[in-house]
């Protein structure tokens, strides 16, 4: 219990400082975990409670993502977004895989790394667009939709990576049954659930919290991937009353996710067979790769490399979802590589996003007019 209190205290202080400097908090939560954990001062260790609470952070993040996952939104969108999404996916998956493979990861590790390499941080990208006052740019629309697109691909990635531990056919069947039953229940009991969610007492909170926890418990019991189960639950419940569910689950997500990042840092052990230099190379490639996909998207969607520079700069930061992939599927080696990448890209990314106007102006003067 002491560990949890220490973790919260450290993260609270950090969050206050970091927000003042308008930096993304995620890398600092992880770093404080590393610093206080077994790789650092060894003050905090993992316990059963911390594992449980971290897992709550993970499942509430995925549940919340499921709530926001509205596939119908893409139906009315222009094909631009899909094209941009595919450019981003292909370039970054391929470069991510190649760099990991060339550095000496096994194929499986390289695939997991490539997935974490591809997924940008929606949280960091969106808060930096708001904070750096960039929402007026047409490029910011592209970035926002790119994040949504990536979230959908993330669901596929989670499915495919889970498929490794199970028979693909049974997994497909299980997922199918699960999705159908969640959506069926949501449709069947829509009126009843809606009425419950609009009550003024503690019932809506209880319902939200316990349904996520129950689904997580039963998915473990039945051997269905927990991550997929909570995403499917969120997605189904969003058809009932997505606003209320989002409002209620956000505090749970926010609080437990901080612990998830912190204890992910605590669990980190930098004693692998690789030195830290290859990790730094991978982090730099991760920056370059998103810039490259950004430039390509800018050229295709907005007809300008300068727009591409803006898109690239705002999508460099990797964060929550890369850590999720690492914590669910990665070996210690890959986890360490992903951690270094998240730390580097989120810091470099927020710097680039902040100063992209200035850099763009300098580039324009030097290169073209």
């Amino acid at each position: 219990m002491d560990y949890i209190a220490i973790a919260f205290l450290a993260c609270l202080i950090l969050a206050l400082v970091v927000k003042k400097l308008s930096l993304p908090p995620i890398p600092f939560y992880i770093m404080s975990g590393i610093f206080l954990g077994s790789s650092g001062l060894n003050i905090v260790a993992r316990s059963e409670i911390s594992l449980f609470l971290s897992n709550l952070g993970l499942i509430f993040l995925l549940f919340y993502m499921g709530l926001e996952l509205k596939l119908g939104r893409f139906a009315e969108k222009k094909s631009d977004i899909l094209i941009g999404g595919f450019i981003d996916m292909n370039i970054n998956m391929i470069i991510g895989f190649l760099v990991a493979f060339l550095i000496g990861f096994e194929v499986h590790d390289a695939i997991v790394f490539a997935s974490a390499f591809y997924i940008s941080s929606s949280a960091i990208a969106i808060s930096s667009l708001i904070e750096n006052k960039k929402l007026f740019l047409p490029e910011s629309e592209t970035v926002v939709w790119l994040m949504i697109f990536e979230d959908i691909i993330l669901v596929l990635i989670i499915f495919l990576l889970s498929a490794e531990f199970a028979n693909l056919f049974t997994l497909l069947l299980e997922t199918f049954v699960m999705v159908i039953s969640f959506f069926g229940i949501s449709k069947f009991a829509k009126g009843y659930l809606f009425r419950i969610m609009t009550r003024g007492d503690e019932i809506p909170v209880l319902l939200t919290f316990s349904s996520v926890l129950l689904v997580s418990y039963f998915s473990r019991l039945l051997g269905v991937p927990e991550a997929l189960a909570v995403i499917a639950l969120g997605s189904a419940l969003s058809t009932v009353n997505s606003k209320e569910f989002e409002r209620i689950s956000k505090p749970f997500k926010d609080v437990f996710l901080v612990l998830f990042f912190f204890f992910f840092g605590v669990s980190m052990e930098f004693t692998g067979e690789l030195s830290v230099i290859p990790f730094i190379v991978m982090g730099l490639v991760a920056v370059g790769s998103k810039m490259l996909s950004g430039l390509a998207m800018g050229r295709v969607i907005h007809g300008s490399y300068f727009s591409g520079f803006e898109i690239g700069a705002n999508s460099i930061a990797r964060g929550e979802f890369s850590i999720v992939i690492a914590s669910l599927y990665a070996s210690d080696l890959v986890s360490a590589a992903v951690t270094v990448m998240v730390l580097m890209t989120s810091l470099i990314g927020s710097f680039m996003a902040k100063y992209s106007f200035v850099m763009r102006r300098i580039l324009k003067e030097k290169v073209g007019r």
Binding site: E68, I126, I130, K133, L135, F136, E141, V144, I148
Partner: protein, 161 residues
């Protein structure tokens, strides 16, 4: 003038307006409830930005719709498209010393001026449709409704401003 709006999931809704002269105004209603306004002069690359809370945004909105006639005392004039010769004004006034301690009925506000007091704000609480027995206290802000001339009479006869 061109106008468009787009949904930005996770951020809010974006409204984009390009004026005839080519200046661009972008307004973002964020999920947090706050509003960002970008003003980009034609030919300029970096916009001026202001972030407003919902109250400030409403205030700005009512200025832009041209409703506020006088800056020091707020008023809104309403015209109905179906009743084009009916123009009703709604004014707010801060209660002065000479009215404090007297009731609406005692002052004979409606009888003397035709104005109706529709609401009173007292220490942050709102009293809607106060009865004739309602007694004014110092610091009350009243909302009065009537025609322009009636409100002028209210100002001179009752408030003695």
């Amino acid at each position: 003038m061109t106008f468009r709006s787009v949904e930005l999931p996770g951020v809010g809704t974006k409204y984009e307006l390009t004026t005839e002269k080519g200046d661009k105004i972008v307004i973002i209603f964020m999920s947090s409830g706050n509003i960002q306004i970008y003003v980009l002069e034609k030919g300029c690359e970096t916009p001026a930005v202001a972030e407003l809370n919902p109250g400030e945004a409403r205030r700005l909105g009512s200025i832009l719709t041209g409703a506020i006639l006088e800056a020091e005392r707020e008023a809104v004039e309403i015209a109905f498209s179906a009743l084009s010769d009916l123009r009703i004004s709604i004014h707010t006034y801060i209660i002065g010393k000479n009215v404090v301690g007297r009731s609406i009925g005692e002052l004979g506000i409606r009888k003397k001026t035709g104005v109706t007091i529709v609401a009173v704000s007292r220490m942050g609480r709102n009293i809607i449709n106060p009865p004739p027995s309602f007694i004014f206290e110092e610091g009350d802000v009243v909302v009065a409704i009537g025609e322009h001339e009636q409100l002028k009479a209210f100002e001179s006869k009752i408030l003695r401003m």
